[in-house]
Assembly symmetry: C2
Homo-oligomer: 337 residues x 2
């Protein structure tokens, strides 16, 4: 084991990869939320000009990668790898959205943790010396997720108070080996954690133990505490999951002074009635590749710990009475190396 | 770009990771095939003691990882990462099969190329200095694949002549940083290739262009030719896809003297009537982690190019009239560094 591996789960990069560009895209509800001004593209058409919502999700991935490439002054031929995945069965949002780019591609499945997973592996490939420029990305779409996981949208299914609203959004980060930052300084790879939660309408509670597990590992491996970061932000735990993580740390006597969740930031919770908050791969991806990285670059924060979680269930596993395994991948972003 | 990256897609490892152990498991049809003696475990019960086929697939992953750990004299706590994925919606074969091991986990989706993708990323993580021991694995199950992609098995759906038979099998390779081999010397990350094939019962034809694309990149990047390898073996192209790849190379004036396909080896094609051959993530995974690595260790071959392909479709994409994108990840295995 090389020295750059701290503890069991965390890698501290010898030569931290730098964020070259980032882009996001959102739909109608995102355009009415408090972070609307941080989006590169907002489209009121849930089909994004396509004939089906699945093709719309692919169109979002294509658009957001093109936008990130343009902002970086690159073409697809400059990328060494694309790392992407999504929530759709067989990750078709990614494979159809990215097939025209002709870039070496590793497909991922980390559910709503995918932005954390893709960013982690992108940084590992660069610091390992295998790449100079890598795109990390993911997406979700309210309508594709509803019909796949729950009910077709036109059915008008009733939502429980703990339900979250899948973001119609995508985000892409392009990392490079040498740059002026912000930097990815550490990544912590999560373990699958399953505490026996079976309510598929309460994903926050199902994923909270994974967030606690990975964040605890990160703090232990790096010898730091939450107060050392200007922001510790999970992906889409929502109101309930967020409170559960705070409770877990509180029992350990650890304060979380700057603790947030992308799912609590994306929508205006008073007017938009999204119940427990936003969710979906596109939630943390669009918040990271808009609000978080923009404000990090502006100097509002110096150091952010970004830790999106994923619920590794399927409708089939729920029908078969299974509980919901969760996972969380953490990425430390810093203005300086 | 560091020098170890050859061309655009291929990495030549500075310090090739070594194969510490490998294991496979199969079902009833695999036990009647010509490679039966190369399986660690064969089970005539398609449920593998579980109540559903999905749980059976998870049980196969659990079993094959335990077997590989045992053969290596390791416990799960010795692993730095597990890299895995499968064909099931949201990759539940992997997440439920591996949740009890408490090992840092990156979930992958590469369809039937997953054994190539997981092995590639495992080798990259090790050579990058981020890990000492990594497990790479995948699975498939005939009955879970049939009901998800085609029809429930009891329906007795008619199969077309170009149809392939999804293997009920899983395979796991444990790589380590320093060992006595065989070694992973090179990996080539594939691009998504879509030539417009829309027949979901003819996966071999859909995936053949991706195999040709990645194999061509590998030979070009390494300055070698097919005849320099004792075996060039694809994952599950089957009879038709295999012939198409040979045709493509033939048009380039390139001979493929030692060209095989795991899908043509797993079953006895005269007696077992599997039509165009075997398929599924478990096909190439079980052939690699049985026949191929056993015979490589015995000295039958010195150098193998293992190049499994994946079809990145879903039933939804096919219903929406989409063509079938393919991908192929190549891994060069050698008795010596």
């Amino acid at each position: 084991m090389k020295q750059k591996h701290l503890g069991r789960q965390t890698v501290a990069f010898a030569h931290p990869p730098s964020i070259l560009s980032f882009a996001n895209i959102g739909g109608k509800f995102e355009s009415r939320g408090p972070l609307a001004s941080y989006f590169d593209t907002l489209n009121n058409d849930s089909f994004f000009g396509e004939k089906t919502w699945e093709k719309a999700e692919s169109a979002m991935q294509k658009s957001v990668l093109n936008c990130a490439l343009e902002k970086a002054g690159l073409t697809a031929a400059d990328l060494d790898y694309i790392l992407a995945g999504d929530l759709l069965n067989q990750c078709i949002g990614s494979s159809f959205g990215l097939r025209d780019f002709k870039v070496p591609f590793y497909g991922l499945y980390g559910a709503c943790s995918t932005m954390g997973e893709s960013l982690s592996l992108a940084a590992l490939l660069i610091d390992g010396g295998f790449a100079d420029k890598v795109a990390a990305m993911t997406s979700s779409h309210f309508c594709t997720a509803e019909r796949q996981y729950r009910m077709p949208v036109p059915y008008g299914n009733q939502r429980t108070p703990t339900a979250q609203w899948t973001a119609t959004a995508a985000g892409c980060t392009i990392l490079e080996a040498d740059g002026s930052g912000p930097y990815v300084t550490h990544v912590t790879c999560g373990k699958i954690v399953d505490k026996g939660i079976t309510d598929a309408n309460n994903m926050g509670a199902a994923m909270a133990p994974a967030a606690y597990d990975t964040l605890s590992a990160f703090f232990q491996d790096t010898g730091t505490k939450p107060a050392d970061y200007d922001l510790v932000i999970t992906g889409d735990l929502g109101e309930l999951g967020h409170a559960i993580v705070r409770d877990f740390f509180s029992k350990d006597g650890v304060e979380l002074p700057n603790f947030q969740d992308c799912g609590l930031l994306l929508y205006n919770r008073e007017d938009q009635d999204m119940h427990a908050g936003a969710s979906g791969c596109g939630c943390s991806a669009s918040v990271l590749n808009g609000y978080l990285l923009t404000e990090l670059k502006k100097g509002r924060w110096k150091k952010i710990l970004f830790a999106p979680t994923g619920a590794l269930l399927s409708p089939t596993s729920s029908f078969q009475g299974e509980s919901i395994p969760g996972i969380c991948h953490a990425v430390c972003l810093s203005a300086e190396t």
